[in-house]
C-alpha cells in the first residue's frame, strides 16, 4: 500500500460511451437515460453548428441541471441564430437556474445577441424585458447605452425602467441625461425612480 503510479489513465468506460462519437451518434446520446452520457454528448456536440436545433430541443425537456449547464455552454460556443433563439426562449422559463444560466450565456455573445435585443426589449412580458436588461448588464456591445435610453424613454412598466436606470448609473454618459430627466417627470410620484435617476445623473456628472 502507499503511493502507486497510475500507469493507465482510465478513460470513459464502454457503458459511458457506447454510441459512436459522430453527429448521429451524439444526437442519439443526447436522449440517453444516463445523465453522464447526455453531458458528454452535449459537450461533444459543440463543434457541430447543425446540432443547435437538437440542443435547444433537449434544453426544453432536460431535467438534470448538470446536463442543462453543458447544453448552455455548447449553445454559447455554437452561437448561431438557432442557439441564440434557444437562449432567449429560456428567459421565459419558470426555472430560475435555467433563466440565470441563459442570461450568463447570452452575455458571452454580444454580437450574436444584439439583433435580438430590440425584440426582447419590446416583449409583451415585462419579466422578459427585465431579464433582457439583465443581459445588458455585462454585454460588451457599443449599443448598450442606446438600448437602455430607449427602455427608460419608452417602457411603461416601472420595474423595467427601474432595472434599466440602475444600469445607466454604471454605463450612462452625457447622452443619457435628457432621458433620465424625462423619466423623472414620467414617474414623478415614484420615489425609487427619483432616487435611482438622481443617482445616475450624479454619477454621470462625476465621470
Amino acid at each position: 500500500m502507499g503511493l502507486k503510479k497510475a500507469h493507465d489513465t482510465p478513460s470513459a468506460s464502454e457503458n459511458e460511451r457506447r454510441l459512436p462519437r459522430d453527429l448521429p451518434g451524439l444526437l442519439d446520446a443526447l436522449a440517453d437515460p444516463d445523465p453522464m452520457a447526455r453531458r458528454w454528448a452535449a459537450r461533444d456536440l459543440a463543434p457541430y453548428p447543425e446540432a443547435s436545433h437538437a440542443l435547444v430541443e433537449r434544453l426544453s425537456i432536460e431535467t438534470e441541471p448538470s446536463v442543462t449547464e453543458v447544453i448552455l455552454t455548447s449553445l454559447t460556443l455554437i452561437g448561431d441564430e438557432v442557439a441564440v433563439a434557444g437562449l432567449t426562449e429560456c428567459l421565459r422559463s419558470e426555472d430560475a437556474m435555467l433563466r440565470n444560466s441563459a442570461i450568463e450565456a447570452m452575455k458571452q455573445l454580444p454580437d450574436e445577441v444584439a439583433p435580438w435585443m430590440g425584440r426582447l426589449l419590446e416583449d409583451p412580458d415585462p419579466d422578459v424585458r427585465i431579464f433582457a436588461v439583465d443581459v445588458l448588464e455585462s454585454l460588451r456591445h457599443p449599443k448598450v447605452e442606446d438600448w437602455l435610453i430607449r427602455v427608460i424613454t419608452q417602457d411603461a412598466h416601472i420595474n423595467v425602467c427601474a432595472t434599466a436606470v440602475d444600469l445607466l448609473g454604471e454605463v450612462g454618459s452625457e447622452r443619457a441625461k435628457p432621458a433620465l430627466f424625462a423619466l423623472k417627470q414620467r414617474f414623478a410620484e415614484e420615489p425609487y425612480i427619483q432616487f435611482a435617476a438622481d443617482l445616475a445623473l450624479k454619477r454621470i456628472d462625476t465621470d
Binding site: 500500500m1 502507499g2 503511493l3 502507486k4 503510479k5 497510475a6 500507469h7 489513465t9 482510465p10 478513460s11 470513459a12 444516463d34 445523465p35 453522464m36 453531458r39 458528454w40 459537450r43 461533444d44 459543440a46 438534470e64 441541471p65 448538470s66 449547464e69 453543458v70 455552454t73 454559447t76 460556443l77 437556474m97 444560466s101 450568463e104 458571452q108
Partner: protein
C-alpha cells in the same frame, strides 16, 4: 508602414483570438508587453521575417510543433513546494477522511489530480505530505496524476530538479529525506518521481479531458484566473465529469467555483474552502 518585426495592434488582436481558441487562455490588453516579447522571441527562433509569416506558420503547420513551443513560452510556470500548504492539511485532515469513510471499495486507489503540474512542485509536494501526514497511506493505495499543457515543463517535472528557492519552505528533515543534492540543485528521489504520473492535457479541450476520469481530488490552483468566463465554465464542467461522486476540487485562494458554475457544493472545512461534486450526482 509597419515594422515587420513589431507586433501591431491588429496583429495582437488576431493572435489573441487565435491563441484563445486553441488554449482557452485570454490575454488582456495589460499583458501586451508579455505577449509581444514572447512572440518576437519565437519569430526570431523560427527565422520568421514578419508576424504575418510567423502567424501563417503557426496556423497551418501540420505538425503543430511551433504552436506547442509558443504555448510553452506563453504559460507561466512559477511555484514552490508546499505553496498554500493549508490545502494539503485540508486534504489529509478532512477531504481524504471523508472520502475514505464513505468508500465501500478499498481495492480501488484514491486518485488525486494536480493540474497544472508546472515543474512538479505541487504533485511531489502532495506525495510528500501524504507520506508524512496521512496515516492511511500504509493501508490504501493513492495515485497522483499531474498534467500540464506545456510539454517542456512536463519534461522538467519528470526530472524533478529544483533550485534552493523552490524548496525553501520545506522543513530541513523533509529536504534531507526526499531529495538528493545535485550540484547547486535538489532532485526529488527516484521513488517519488516514479510514483507521480505526468500527462499532457489542455483542460479546455474535451478530448484531453475525457482521458482523465474517476478522480477523487483535483488540485487546480491559480490556473482558471488566466481563463475567460466561458473557458472557466467549460473546464469546471469537464472537472465535474472527471470527478467521482463526492470528489473535491481545490482552487487557489483567490478563486471561487461559485462564480463559475453551480454544479459544485461549497464545503467549508477548518483548513480551507473547497468544492465538492455532490455524492448523489450521476
Amino acid at each position: 508602414m509597419n515594422d515587420p518585426c513589431q507586433i501591431s495592434d491588429e496583429d495582437f488582436q488576431k493572435f489573441r483570438e487565435f491563441f484563445y481558441r486553441k488554449t482557452g487562455i485570454l490575454f488582456e490588453d495589460s499583458k501586451r508587453y508579455f505577449v509581444d516579447k514572447r512572440l518576437l522571441e519565437r519569430m526570431e527562433a523560427t527565422g520568421s521575417e514578419s508576424f504575418r509569416a510567423y502567424f501563417t506558420m503557426l496556423r497551418f503547420q501540420a505538425s503543430g510543433t511551433e504552436l506547442q513551443a509558443l504555448i510553452n513560452v506563453m504559460t507561466v510556470n512559477e511555484t514552490y513546494f508546499f505553496r498554500e500548504e493549508y490545502q494539503f492539511e485540508c486534504l489529509v485532515n478532512s477531504l481524504l477522511e471523508e472520502l475514505v469513510a464513505r468508500r465501500t471499495d478499498t481495492a480501488t486507489p484514491i486518485r488525486i489530480w494536480s493540474v497544472p503540474s508546472s515543474s512538479g512542485e505541487e504533485p511531489y509536494g502532495i506525495a510528500i505530505y501524504l507520506l508524512e501526514h496521512w496515516p492511511h497511506i500504509n493501508r490504501l493505495d493513492v495515485e497522483i496524476i499531474s498534467s500540464d499543457i506545456d510539454t517542456d515543463i512536463l519534461t522538467q517535472a519528470r526530472r524533478g530538479l529544483y533550485s534552493p528557492r523552490a524548496v525553501q519552505h520545506l522543513p530541513p528533515n523533509l529536504l534531507k529525506k526526499y531529495f538528493k543534492r545535485v550540484g547547486e540543485l535538489y532532485q526529488v528521489d527516484d521513488n517519488l518521481r516514479e510514483a507521480v504520473q505526468f500527462t499532457r492535457a489542455n483542460v479546455t479541450d474535451p478530448t484531453d479531458m475525457r482521458l482523465h476520469r474517476h478522480i477523487d481530488v483535483i488540485f487546480c490552483r491559480n490556473l482558471l484566473i488566466y481563463f475567460d468566463d466561458l473557458s472557466r465554465k467549460r473546464t469546471a464542467e469537464s472537472f465535474y465529469d472527471a470527478l467521482n461522486p463526492g470528489g473535491f476540487i481545490c482552487l487557489g485562494h483567490s478563486e471561487s467555483m461559485s462564480r463559475i458554475s453551480s454544479l459544485f457544493r461549497v464545503r467549508k472545512f477548518p483548513e480551507a474552502i473547497v468544492y465538492q461534486k455532490p455524492w448523489e450526482a450521476r
